[in-house]
Symmetry: C2
Subunit: 185 residues, 2 copies
Amino acid sequence: MARTEDPAGRERILTAATALFYANGVRAVGMAEVIAAAGCGKHMLYRHFPSKAALVAAYLRRVRAEREKSTGRALAAAAGEATGAGEQLVALVAEVAAWVQRGDCRGCAFRTYLTEFPAGDDEPAMVARDYLRDTRQQVDELVAALGEPKITGDRIWLLIDALYGGTGTPPQIAVDWARELTEVG
Amino acid sequence: MARTEDPAGRERILTAATALFYANGVRAVGMAEVIAAAGCGKHMLYRHFPSKAALVAAYLRRVRAEREKSTGRALAAAAGEATGAGEQLVALVAEVAAWVQRGDCRGCAFRTYLTEFPAGDDEPAMVARDYLRDTRQQVDELVAALGEPKITGDRIWLLIDALYGGTGTPPQIAVDWARELTEVG
DNA sequence: GTCTATAGAAGGATAGAC
DNA sequence: GTCTATCCTTCTATAGAC
């Protein structure tokens, strides 16, 4: 047999690409930059990801997996406490607020991608739109399961939209409003 | 003597550029595309706008002027009716909601630009950031003039952020919430 | 020898600027 | 129209591990 394949290669490339795409935008980052950051050759990159679109789709899927893990933990913790019916909805908003307050946060990767490519209908665009659709549906399902009125789902999602697209307002404002909303409703 | 200069030239270029930049994004539109849409020559474009950054800055300034005219009309109309203290704040949110509901709307030109160029500090970035800062300040001033609590300004701005960055939620949700907010406060 | 790796040149397209 | 630069992608050249 021949030289053994580097098992961490794909992972290293995707990690480097994720950091670069998220920090600087997909359009601004070229394949050469990813190659330099990953410390690999072009051959290896195009072996694992046959095109830039494939690499971007993998980047968005990785972000989705991380976001879902974080959101799942927050919801499970809120369900464990079970202090009130709407606590899970508040926890959902608070999780996004915590994410937005991170120093290296630069908004929502999916909304950002769709802003960069508004007319796109390729693989990454589908990943981004699927995430937004599924997440929005999860909010509605959670609201229904908690017996809250349907408009509460609209308002929770509105707060999440505002957090991700926020321009200066402290994220805590949204969390407080979510708590007030679920206590009144 | 030479050929007389086309007085409508700059206007025609800027109109074409505005439509293209707003619809497809600044990065996706090249100078050649603007030239083709404006039906002018390269020389004329670079005569009026010495660089793409200058053209983009002019595009953002034009959008700002249009937005301010529309917002000013909405606020004046609400002040004329004078049915309640918070009606002007509701009118502000409603004006953004109406803008967002337009068929050719693709969000906020300034937020979109800053998403496309997150690390930019050139002329268009300054125009975009100035608009957001000034508009945010106008909301706070309006809230103060109406004798509303400070947090009302935060929440109104949050609703505006959500409208511009909205992903599917009907804009009317934000308007209704703004009305409820100002009636309770 | 064969497979995988990196490095670099080159093609083909497109961008901004003159 | 042209010049230069960059981007994505492919291809060639070469070194190292089995």
